[in-house]
Symmetry: C3
Subunit: 470 residues, 3 copies
Amino acid sequence: MSECILHEDRFFDSDPSIRNAARELYNEAKRLPIVSPHGHVDPKIFVDNKPFPHPTELFIAPDHYVYRMLYSQGIKLEELDIPQRGGKTLGVDPRKVWQLFGENYYLFNGTPSGVWLDYEFNIVFGIKEKLNGENAQKYYDTINEKLQTEEFLPRNLFKHFNIEVLSTTDAANDQLEHHKAIKESGWDGRIVPAFRPDALTNLDNPTWREDIKVLESLVGFEISKYQDFIKALELRREYFKEMGATSTDHGVLTPYTHKLSDGEVEAIFSRALRGEVYEDDPKLFTANMLMEMARMSCDDGLTMQIHSGSNRNHNSVIYDKYGLDKGCDIPQQTEYTNNLKELLNAYGNDTNFRVIVFTLDETTYSRELAPLAGHYPAMKLGPAWWFHDSIEGMTRYRQMVTETAGFYNTVGFNDDTRAFVSIPARHDVARRIDANFLGGLVARHIISLSEARIIMKDLTYNLVKKAYKL
Amino acid sequence: MSECILHEDRFFDSDPSIRNAARELYNEAKRLPIVSPHGHVDPKIFVDNKPFPHPTELFIAPDHYVYRMLYSQGIKLEELDIPQRGGKTLGVDPRKVWQLFGENYYLFNGTPSGVWLDYEFNIVFGIKEKLNGENAQKYYDTINEKLQTEEFLPRNLFKHFNIEVLSTTDAANDQLEHHKAIKESGWDGRIVPAFRPDALTNLDNPTWREDIKVLESLVGFEISKYQDFIKALELRREYFKEMGATSTDHGVLTPYTHKLSDGEVEAIFSRALRGEVYEDDPKLFTANMLMEMARMSCDDGLTMQIHSGSNRNHNSVIYDKYGLDKGCDIPQQTEYTNNLKELLNAYGNDTNFRVIVFTLDETTYSRELAPLAGHYPAMKLGPAWWFHDSIEGMTRYRQMVTETAGFYNTVGFNDDTRAFVSIPARHDVARRIDANFLGGLVARHIISLSEARIIMKDLTYNLVKKAYKL
Amino acid sequence: MSECILHEDRFFDSDPSIRNAARELYNEAKRLPIVSPHGHVDPKIFVDNKPFPHPTELFIAPDHYVYRMLYSQGIKLEELDIPQRGGKTLGVDPRKVWQLFGENYYLFNGTPSGVWLDYEFNIVFGIKEKLNGENAQKYYDTINEKLQTEEFLPRNLFKHFNIEVLSTTDAANDQLEHHKAIKESGWDGRIVPAFRPDALTNLDNPTWREDIKVLESLVGFEISKYQDFIKALELRREYFKEMGATSTDHGVLTPYTHKLSDGEVEAIFSRALRGEVYEDDPKLFTANMLMEMARMSCDDGLTMQIHSGSNRNHNSVIYDKYGLDKGCDIPQQTEYTNNLKELLNAYGNDTNFRVIVFTLDETTYSRELAPLAGHYPAMKLGPAWWFHDSIEGMTRYRQMVTETAGFYNTVGFNDDTRAFVSIPARHDVARRIDANFLGGLVARHIISLSEARIIMKDLTYNLVKKAYKL
């Protein structure tokens, strides 16, 4: 049997001066509520409030971090019974899948998934030994049992996790029925939507014309000109705001921004409505739509988020069989200084506007993003994202961003997760790494402990509320 | 009241083995004179030798590091009364500006500006509490009083700061009157100019033709052909040398180098004289002029400096109203391996030539610059520059450069500052970080303490004098 | 006299928690045999098994790391008597060269060459003081004497170094006579070849047509069509396998992969046979050949290695006089996400295929390579390469790779060296850095010491044997 592995000083530098300061800073922050301004939890779980099914469906099926690692080591997605396009599964015994997971759990040593899972098993589910092939079935039983209890119902976990507010991410055409149902249920958990119009602003979307049709039906008028489209998007944003949204989100390959002339954009839009898309049209149209979205944010006050740099569905074999979001998205080099120039020149000096930029290209932290965020009042820097939401990744983020952008042009932590049960684990890591970074500044006498205490609270709680107007 | 924050071991790793070695190394280096081979202090202050005006004009108006951070947090440049194009100011009470600065001084926690300012307040002005909104007016009074004393006159500060030599940066057309006046004054402070011909070598300069006219008047002959232009530049370099210059400086967007044929360059030059500039002309002409400058350096022995990668005046709103150097320059990706190839092939094997390369793109340290500097005898690597002239930035520089280029292909520290009073603060940080880096090597038994001692002195004093022939 | 500098805890963090864990992990790993799956030792030394000549020829002439640093500081290659094209030397007294080396040995402080050489002098040759100008001649004598002893014959050193297997790198046209001779000699040292067909797959190779002629003579049939060429390469791979090869190696400027149509590739190939090469032909042909090599690896099971990103022979002055591999190769930016896409889509899901990717562009570790290796079952990540095979370089590698790819998508260490005597030094550094990295994880309670012990053994011994099927 492996011993329990969650040390109370985990992730802190072992040097006592740093560790002591980090511990003190962390201890104050850990009691603060979780504010989760960006993520992908399915809001339906809070409508239904039913027990989660078995451990395999809770921990493996929805977590592409987990099965991409297993896949990289030669385990087939079929063996893990990952849902295929259309939701089809093979009906593999979930205990067999769990066993395979347990036997290969050592692969996650030194990875953020390992760190989060250890937390979930140990702290959320109270299991005090490390998962392996031998104890996998006992693990399965223990988790399974707990899942059936009142305490582990989604709404109870939400309260237990001390979540003050949780944002989902929702297509512009989403009717937000679950959000409405939660509101109407009288439950006081705060779940808000975020407006993500990618399907409508990306002409490479194969169902773009159908999505426009749906949009027409939602807004109740025909969309035959670009200005109709703009009007429709403004109405959808209005609806999202009514339903509690405070932000928009934009996933783009490159953050290129450029306002097209009325004639140019009308030509592209008409072509697209006819099903014709010229080679440069998607790039130009998306660049133009980012400008429009920024303009709308200046008007309606929704905080704008730009996530760029992911080369989606890199592995076509997996994509063809399994579809989107299956661990096959690979980052690529991303340029911000020139690409964001037009947007920042047009709207970046507006102190009421807020655009939060995320990157998968760490080289841009100190070279482009911190200098931009350290100058333009509208621009803030999102936390270390996706592959970089990790102990080393968050440490590099603070090391490369702070000296030029300071702490106050960053916006706290985003968990960005589909895995609801991992939320406290992820926030715990972020708080520990921020505490450790600040502890390092204290130990080197760059800032005082009392200054660090104020910053710690700001990084954990105040900055995120301010940036997302929550 | 906040306590004084300058710990004698500040910036050193808290691990005792590293800290003890670092302290020992630093203590020897701190007594060495300051050699400042590249910067932007106005030489006129040493001609006039008058008291600096009030604290706001000393610390805020000239320091774009300071007001870019305040601006990023929504404070208008108007509120800070930053001089606009043509020098116009709004006449805001400097005490009100200072108050705003004090209230927002926490924004500089963890930044190099914070660290330098703390030093200036604490050590230069003797104020033993940290600036904030409450003590801002008292701070103002204290600094103001000291500024009126004999001790704080520029020439006395120069001596008090233990500056052995200070280089300014001067346009090729500058007549160096202040340098002449200083020489003629009999004062023994060594202030030397550096030759920066950017206005003449960059065809994108909107006043290029006027600048050529000024050059004509300075050299006393008509510049109608490219060879006249070259001759004129050679004469200006000669004049700068006579006035004490030992280096040239070249600010370029990319470090592309390429020698044009006589016909090509003559064609571009004639066009430019007529006011016609084709799209590729500026890029090609600058590339060609870098080759010419390297050739001239081989002849006249001036050390060549290349600063590239800054996308200047990114924010046109600020640029239009305030002009150059207002905190709106943003770094961008820069390529050296291919761009410098032609220059290094032509002149890089010349052991009398010295070309010092600076970067804002830290990714090139280990990938391109250290391998180049670790091979070509003429090429040396400038220290961590601008946004990277910081505790973490200088640490990354040493970590990424040393293993391939060693210590002896680097050239010591540059403060590169307009803010005269910050010079000792900046050199102090650099010395501490070098001491700490070397202390880390000693603590890990990579080098011995006695080896580190020799290197420490070389990094602080000997290498810069050798590289710049000072 | 300088003291001996090899501390038993060298390279470990000085913090006691990390150091103690690192020491414990290292102590177990240090006894494991050396597996060297990629390098450039001349196999002839094991055929002849004669004493190495003098120290200068052993340490300086073959080591471009050493003389590039000396050259960068103004020492001419002529003064070091580095062999020129065709093997010509100037006959400089080797003792004079060694003296120059000793006087400048301080240049290697803080570099991997310094660390390796210290090990070789101290541990292999038993000299307990640091090389300098004063003791250089005594050093020379001591080493010279030892080289004449039985103990220092190549085969004895091979055993003494505890090398289990050593791979060389050999041109596709190489007849592997030395490998054959070793086998036939009855000596049980395992020296295996690796198949490197660059000369045949790179149309920029000036002797490409002659190399095709040699290939024809080796396979015994005329190569007039592309399919003949493919058949010939398959036969050569077969021969290499018979001679013990388990891997292929491909040095390319960019890792662009693309399968040409039959018509396209035939057209390029015919042109090349006629001596005509269009501008894009080399790039397209190499991209196509990487696809073919991957396909062949799926068939014959040879592990494929791709080394990209070196801009070879950057300094034409040196290249013209001295030829290849003279310290003038400079890394450049390299892109993997898009370039490897076609190869990984075609073969990357094949769990029997193994493609090991190396980089000189550290920015791709966390952005591209770890995400790719953490997904595609066929792809593994080679260790920190060339300029990055160093204390800081290997540390950055683990820091940037582990969280996304884990430990098990990496392949242990490669020494990649021409310098046989440096092999144990290089493996010792790699083991210490891995031990220290793992010790850091243990000290921060990210993994347990017992987990670290298992990983340490895998990184040192098991992963390399598995990846290279040794």
